[in-house]
Symmetry: C2
Subunit: 438 residues, 2 copies
């Protein structure tokens, strides 16, 4: 997608469809928690009723894609067999059981007698979701959107077009059965529409890309709508001089190898000069055993790493069993390296020196900064959010792993009894600003 | 500014300066609340020491601008006399007294024994502030930035160049005296630099425009950095059939006339058909007395409004003593009108019917939705935030009037004792997700 031209102007037809999603979402905002939960259960039931139809549609997509020579990794993601579909339906029912993210009171303040301010969580409005291959993502995203009272416009990969359409039809049936306007979710099918989706600011409130780094970067570069997600995940692990060697080895191996394709796996290991030699003498055989190729700076090479890391390596997200390693003279240099090459995703330090750990945790400006544990914990489920919408490396909230909280915003309600500002401007009345119980 | 070409690529010199601001901000993050407060007091003292120098510099700017024929309204905003400067210094000392927005714990959760997650508020990093004329804005913004641990790159109007430079020099002296790196604030002087500022994503975390709607819109359209603020403020007041006529009149007059140039003043009045005639018979003379020109639809004209409102009027932010008025057959039509023409800033309903009020408050998707009070309360000071950074009409938080809270984000800290993800993936260990006291 990254070589495409600028997004096209949305057609009148697309704008009309998007406005219908927004209108349906307006109804959803005002629905009760129970209503939204029964909508999710309706969606689960409709998927169950259409189980065979969905699996069959997926077989067709798989056959066509195979004949078109789709890469094996994408074929695997495209495949929605019975087990995966059952899991997706189970996941949908679990989202129904999550606490309601709406209507949470964040501010409750008497501005003056009879003039009360409230701030409550409300849905964002309409989500635009662009994803590659995986048709189970349609089910997951639709469930998170409806749970949080949002409408969703989805655009899946063309290789999954048939599967996605059958799923969306079932989900719409489920919504209708639960008395929710089925327009709350819509599926775009053409590439042109997905480009135009990026131009629907004012109708679409948040874009969620699910796919490769290049897809995310393309979207970030071509829309004014806020994008939830991250392009790069260049995570660092710094082993301090005062690290427990056993912990350092365990955490380094886990952070790199537990699932190297994940954005929260480390790409660079920074070693304090005083521990580098003893650490590497144990780590090199362990990494070798785990199939990891190590690339080192000059000092690392003098300690036994055979491949050289180039300047380019410090900025590379391998997403693979490759790890660049650098020796630093002190923590200041480690912080400098992270500032220069990091992507503000997740970094960790291993040290038994509490003071050094605290400095690191305060100085590193990433969504997650860890002490004596693996970077692989950077995940919404592991954080206890129940669902993960994505991991954001933007500075503004929501930041880091994002649960349903990322799909809501807030609104201020002010209730008075004929209160006017002139009385306060003149000094006739003064504000009390008295906080009330939340 | 709106007719300019695309923002220029930042020069190496500008990038270097911005990186210095970022580096200084990194020090500021890690400073204590007390340290930041003493920095503000140092800034206040340095302004006091340079009082005459600042006023003199402003006189020079005024003389030059007068000879260049600057518009009277801008001349008034440019003027920084002794009273205004004293007020600005007083305001700076007040910001020092606001509660610390940093280090607030929002999440505290044991993921498993010895593995504890915390989410705490931290500064955004570097603010880019672009404003017109008013040199006192430099003082206000610098104080809010330092209070919240952020660096700031400021760009003022060229008409105030001399005043701004003398102020910035004094503020930097104040920072140095309080042992804070004076690079934490920097002043851009050329127009080219201010355009290039919009391209500093990765170094600048938030752009705050202070100026005309067209300035804000230009900035929103020409940067990938999040922008805090709003272009239009097209606020609506809807008078329901069940409104108390006295309250409706008071609130309508206040919402329009208490300060018509403000973004939270109403531009359109929507009247339920059953109350339109009786309301207008009283309102027309009152608005006339207040100097307000009313523009009405056909029905309003039959009730005595003499000027016609055109389609264009519903989308116009007058910021002046002009009000468009429309009669609607029911609240649904009022909601539809607001959806179509509103800017999601602030809307209000006047009604004694609680049920109708609740529907309105839930259905309108604006940052503020009010019942029986003036839209003019949409303001950070009136909400009790102590300071106002701006009013945002973006959907994502921060939304509505924004205090210091808009200048902070959060970061996750995870502290373990050698915890690795593989143990949880294998099922050897399970997460407890046990919330701890905040």
């Amino acid at each position: 997608m990254e070589n495409s031209s600028m997004p096209s102007v949305p057609s009148k037809e697309l704008v009309r469809r998007a406005e219908n999603v927004r209108l349906a979402a307006t109804g959803l905002w005002q629905s009760s928690n129970q209503h939204r939960c029964s909508a999710l259960n309706g969606m689960a039931e409709a998927l169950t009723s259409n189980f065979k139809k969905i699996v069959d549609a997926n077989s067709e997509d798989l056959d066509r894609s195979a004949s078109e020579g789709l890469a094996p990794a994408l074929m695997a993601r495209l495949k929605l067999n019975e087990v995966k579909l059952e899991d997706a339906i189970e996941g949908l029912r679990k989202v129904a059981q999550l606490p309601d993210p709406l209507g949470l009171r964040q501010v409750h303040r008497e501005l003056d007698k009879g003039l009360v301010l409230e701030r409550k969580t409300v849905p964002l409005g309409v989500l635009g979701v662009i994803f590659e291959a995986r048709p189970d993502a349609v089910i997951q995203i639709a469930s998170l959107a409806i749970r949080s009272g949002n409408g969703a416009i989805l655009k899946g990969g063309s290789e999954a077009a048939h599967t996605n359409q059958v799923i969306i039809n079932a989900l719409k049936d489920g919504l209708s059965a639960a008395d929710v306007d089925p327009n709350a979710i819509d599926l775009l099918t053409t590439r042109e529409e997905s480009m135009a989706l990026l131009r629907l600011d004012g109708i679409v409130d948040l874009i969620i890309p699910r796919g490769s780094n290049s897809l995310v970067r393309f979207i970030q570069d071509n829309t004014r709508i806020p994008v939830l997600g991250h392009a790069d995940g260049i995570c660092h692990l710094y082993i301090d001089a005062a690290a427990d060697l056993r912990q350092a080895l365990d955490i380094a191996i886990d952070s790199k190898t537990q699932y190297p394709a994940a954005c929260n796996a480390i790409e660079t290991l920074l070693l304090h000069k005083d521990i580098a030699s003893s650490f590497l003498s144990k780590a090199i055989p362990l990494f070798e055993e785990a199939g990891v190729t190590l690339l080192g700076d000059d000092v690392c090479q003098s300690y036994g790493i055979t491949n050289a890391a180039t300047e380019q390596d410090w900025s590379t997200e391998y997403l693979d069993l490759i790890l660049s390693v650098r020796v630093v003279t002190d923590m200041g240099k480690a912080l400098e390296h992270i500032r220069q090459y990091g992507s503000r995703h997740t970094e960790a330090i291993v040290t038994d020196n509490q003071e050094v750990a605290d400095i690191f945790l305060n100085a590193v400006d990433s969504a997650g900064v860890y002490h004596n544990c693996s970077t692989r914990f950077a995940d919404g489920f592991r954080y206890g959010f129940g669902a993960e919408v994505g991991i954001s490396t933007q500075t503004l909230p929501p930041r880091g792993p994002v649960g349903l909280e990322g799909l809501v915003t807030y609104r201020y309600h002010l209730r008075g009894d004929g209160h006017i500002a002139a009385n306060y401007a003149s000094g006739n009345k003064i504000f009390s600003h008295n906080d009330l119980p939340l």
